[in-house]
Amino acid sequence: MKAALARNPILLLTAAALLFYPVVFTDAFYRDIGVTFLLAAISASAWNIVGGYAGQVSVGHAMFFGIGAYAPLLVYTVTGWPPMAGIPVGVILGCALALAIGKPSFRLTGHYFSMATIAVAELIRIFFGTWAFVGAAIGLQGPAVGRGWWDLTFRSEVPYYYIFLAVLVVLLALTWTLERRRFGYYLRATKAGERAARSLGVPVRSTKMQALVLSATFTSIAGSLYSIKTGFIDPESGFGILVSVQMVIIAALGGAGTLFGPFIGALVLIPLQTATNTWFGGGGTGLTYILYGGIIVLIARYEPGGVLDLWTRLTSRGGRDHAS
């Protein structure tokens, strides 16, 4: 990875920009955008492992995000321990859920998996909305005032920024490593055609399952980071369909199944989202989702490879096309 960094000036510049962003932008508004961006990039990169690399399009990843988001605040509410202690709980539950969904639905075609994920996510959302133990429709709250650093309740956005950045780097480094191993080839073969992959000896079902579990792990961590930072979670912000939509749209916009696709997608979408929310005011959320729907349809119809693919095609065609 170090060698790759030295070879690629764009990567080096991006790394520097990410490191110094909160130092340069000291305004709380911009720092908040930075934190939102990192969280979106983490979730979408986690989705990307199963949705992009393995080609199994989940439209209900909010279930893992929500489980991860509820776990820390539930652990805090029940035991009084620091919310952080709930992160592994969320990961374990998320993985169990991944196994429970993957096992039956990976036997069938890809559309079935998509259908199963959206139905299970909705089931959990409605169920959490009626379950008093997890606060029903009101949800759960974290410690109002931090009792120490381990509660991770900082007044400034900066500590969150660097924690999120560290998680993103770990996730991308892991994805980068896996891409180059046998598992990465298995993933690509599975995505390209399951029957052909199977006939070449690729263990298709277990490859899809491993991808889903890994994806669920990091999506759950993303959820935990969100709820620890926000100090609050309810069924809609944890399990709502728009949580899933955002992961899908960001990954697809940048380029699903590529290492930096979700990162680039988040780089485009988060500022766009902030801008539309500012333009349309509080009542603009509906318009934002119309915009999301439109973007998704356009990507599906015209640019399934996303921004990265478009850029590669434009640059590889040479300068002549640019002049025209």
């Binding site: 959206i118 139905a119 089931l123 409605i126 899908v248 697809a252 509906g286 729907g293 119809r301 399934p304």
Partner: protein, 285 residues
Amino acid sequence: MLLLQVVIGGLLVGAIYALFSSGLTLIWGMMNFINFAHGEFVMLGMYVALLVVVWLGGGPAVFGFAAAFALFVLGVVIYMSLIREVLRGPMLSQILSTFGLALLLRYTAFWIFSANFVSLPQTSLSGTVDIGGVLMPVAQLVAGVVAIALTIGLHLLLTRTTVGSKLLAVAEDRQAAMLVGIRPDRMQALAWGLSAAAAGIAGALMATAYPWSPSVGETFGLTAFVVVALGGFGSVPGALIAGLLIGLIQSLSAFWLGAIYKDIVVYALFVALLWLRPQGLMGKA
């Protein structure tokens, strides 16, 4: 007596579920494609009915046809402009296309009609009727019966007519269908039209009897998934039986457990089905 009313009410709603789910299963069976916007088609059918009643003052027959026609056209247009292209693309595109479409339609409806619940003004179907001591609203009764008739009609269209044979031929083997002079593209466009029309008219029927808001599309879409998963992918008779069954289960769980549990029970049934019999009750393994 109250239980009997709950059972009949459940079956009547179930008949409408069966009608719109048969549209979803038609597309699934023909091109191995799940339309995530199908519930939104039902929702649009409801608003078409409302607009026709408010603007033109048409009766149930008029707005029923209007909803079917409007959605048929929409279905064909969506197929021609979007689905035909993404069918050739990667699976990501196939799933994203209708998923994005669902968001676009749902939130455009929110934007235009607001999130408030609405219902049709009084129609000729208002009032109740006494069937052997059970009081049923006329609208529910008519909507349910018409929905069953239309679902059976769709099944007969597919199995007893030349057009139906052509549709099934394309579903069976696209290449072979082309060899005998069938144009698969036209047949698939027709299937999208029929599928959306079934959703649209189901929406219009639903609108006569129940209030709604733009978010019903999401609920109906998921209900249709459950019905299709239960009845078997691509089977209209399966959708009919499964639709009636889901309506009944929903109605009984609302009666015994409380209204908020009716969707939980149905989705939980879906998860159980996923584990035990993913090919559906009547589907082939």
